[in-house]
């Protein structure tokens, strides 16, 4: 698949950007803080509805618009050409009228082919894999970062996962509030019945999708890792579900669900005491091991980088395998960080997909011999100019 048009209005540093895109490799050169990462992040938002770097929705809207307009809003529109035809996606973020910027509320509107839809209908219409210099934090960072990584990855090819995740987080919030009420002796334990049922139904979908995806990603990444410059090392990826019962794959869903349900029910008193739900996918983690040792603590940054790269390349392969249509690659100012071998591998992958967007601080890096036929742009003051002269 590939983007044929991208339009940004009042998004971060962009007042207005209109970009016609074709298949192939696009290199966007801009100085630091020129907003080149914002561009890729906006594309990633079209795929997942979430910013890759987290943060609040209010930060998406260009600050001058927030300052000057009564009802400021930002808008991202993308047109996609994929195997089954053309699709137009739109995300609008609108700030409410309020006293101060600090407590302004925002709302989001989604459209697919100009028809108002829910976020879950938009997610995965466009699929992207983002490579960035921060990828090693998947290995070295916090468990919540790893869960976020899993969510952004799986949601792009599994609509059921998206709906289950949304429901799960609302149920979890309500259940935790109820647990705190119960701790303060408001209400009775049987008020948990409904929330426990819902938590386990949605939670089981999440557990099983994560287990299945990580098995496939892990196997593929384990094959890639030694070819990325460390032939004698071994990478293993293990899912660590926050669950006391053994999570066995291929257990029928209803059977798994009832095990999970009993575990939740047994933990009620403990949960009330702690004022929060102690088990469930919101506490999951992934363990990466390099040659038998926990990579988060004992691997070098180089090893962590390699493991993260293997994982991203596996993500591209998995996305192709599941959907039969390669995702758009987003390489956020990361090629310069890589050694020659890793660069070569990423560039090889770039030529296997339909479209790649690359940002770089230097107009002539990567070089023309590394990326023949690349379409090059200069980003200056929020305006993108296609370079007519080829390198």
């Amino acid at each position: 698949m590939h983007l044929t048009r991208l339009s940004l209005t009042n998004i971060r540093t962009y007042e207005r950007l209109e970009l016609e895109l074709e298949r192939g490799i696009h290199v966007i050169a801009g100085e630091n803080a020129s907003g080149k990462s914002n561009l890729l992040d906006a594309v990633a938002m079209l795929a997942t509805t979430r910013s890759q770097r987290g943060g609040h929705d209010i930060d998406l809207i260009r600050w001058q618009a927030l300052r000057d307009e009564t009802l400021p809003g930002g808008r991202i529109v993308g047109e996609i050409d994929k195997r089954d035809g053309q699709t137009t996606l739109e995300i609008a973020v609108v700030a409410s009228e309020n006293d101060s910027d600090a407590n302004r509320r925002t709302s989001r509107r989604f459209r697919v082919n100009a028809v108002a839809r829910r976020a879950s209908d938009l997610i995965g219409q466009l699929r992207v894999v983002m490579f960035s210099a921060e990828d090693l934090t998947i290995i070295s960072g916090s468990p919540s970062g790893r869960r976020r990584y899993l969510d952004l990855t799986i949601s792009q090819f599994d609509p059921t996962y998206v709906r289950a995740s949304q429901r799960y987080s609302r149920v979890l919030q309500q259940r935790n509030s109820l647990l705190r009420r119960l701790r303060e002796h408001h209400g009775s334990l049987d008020e948990l019945d409904f929330w426990d049922d819902e938590l386990t139904t949605a939670g089981s979908v999440i557990f099983q999708a994560r287990a299945a995806t990580l098995t496939r990603l892990g196997q593929d990444a384990a094959i890639r890792y030694p070819t990325l410059g460390s032939p004698n090392e071994k990478l293993s990826v293990r899912y660590k579900p926050a669950l006391p019962v053994a999570l066995i794959q291929n257990v029928p869903r209803d059977e798994f669900e009832s095990d999970f349900r009993s575990a939740i029910e047994e933990g009620r008193q403990q949960d009330v005491w702690k004022g929060g739900t102690q088990i469930g996918p919101h506490r999951d983690d992934i363990e990466f091991q390099i040659s038998g040792r926990d990579a988060a603590v004992s691997a070098s940054r180089g090893q962590q980088r390699t493991a993260a790269l293997a994982l991203r390349l596996s993500e591209v392969a998995l996305s192709c395998e599941i959907t039969g249509d390669p995702p758009v690659l987003l390489l956020d100012d990361m090629l310069s960080e890589l050694d020659a071998n890793h660069r070569k591998r990423v560039i090889e992958t770039a030529y296997e997909v339909d479209q790649v967007l690359i940002t770089t601080p230097d107009f002539d890096r990567p070089t023309a011999s590394e990326l023949p036929d690349a379409i090059r742009y200069r980003l200056v003051m929020g305006t993108l100019n296609r370079a007519e002269e080829s390198l």
Binding site: E97, R118, Q173, Q174, R181
Partner: protein, 199 residues
């Protein structure tokens, strides 16, 4: 902001749900420019609503007569109660014309994160009513909104009412998930009532 009459009015409008500072200003200046009679009508309506509108002792709906006209209407089907979240839902269902029974207004839904449990709702009033007042009731339709909190409330009610010899039903799936009853069109709402299902 100086404590002038116009600022006090702006602030009063600003306190209303969903009204930002700019809209509050617009309203205040509108009132300022309008004929005095219009301002007096608004003021009178505000005072009167506070003075005369109470909750119906039976169905908990807003009313200026107690019990309300629906609870007293002998031509309505008195064997069936439709349980709704808010008074506005009664209006929506009445408008649809698809229902001729009695109502019960919960004044909210179970939502622990908003500090609302079953005790905060008019649920004990419903039980007392079925037991002591409207003894002919044979069916309860739970018409809470088709969202998480609405479902939590309907499941809770179904469990609570189970020991009583009643049929407890839920609106049919015709309503789009996440939709508000208040905004459903009359045909959809009528159909959802007609094809209600056992909980």
């Amino acid at each position: 902001m100086a404590n002038t009459p116009i600022n006090r009015l702006i602030e009063a409008f600003h306190r209303l749900p969903g009204i930002g500072p700019k809209s509050a200003q617009r309203f205040a200046y509108y009132v300022l420019r309008a004929p005095e009679e219009e301002a007096r009508d608004l003021a009178d309506a505000l005072i009167e609503v506070k003075r005369s509108v109470v909750l119906c002792q039976r169905c908990q709906n807003l009313t200026d007569k107690n019990p309300c006209w629906i609870c007293l209407d002998e031509s309505r089907n008195r064997t069936i109660i439709c349980v709704v979240e808010e008074p506005l839902d009664v209006q929506a269902i009445e408008r649809s014309g698809g229902f001729n029974g009695l109502y019960h207004v919960l004044h909210g839904v179970i939502s622990p994160s908003d500090g609302v449990g079953p005790e905060e709702l008019k649920i004990s009033e419903l039980l007392i009513r079925i037991r002591d007042i409207d003894k002919e009731i044979i069916e309860i339709i739970v018409a809470t909104n088709p969202n998480l909190e609405g479902e939590a409330t309907s499941m809770y009610l179904a469990k609570l009412l189970q020991p009583l010899d009643l049929s407890v039903t839920r609106l049919a799936r015709g309503l789009p998930a996440g939709a508000d009853l208040e905004y459903a069109d009359d045909v959809t709402l009528g159909r959802a009532l007609e094809y209600r299902q056992k909980v």
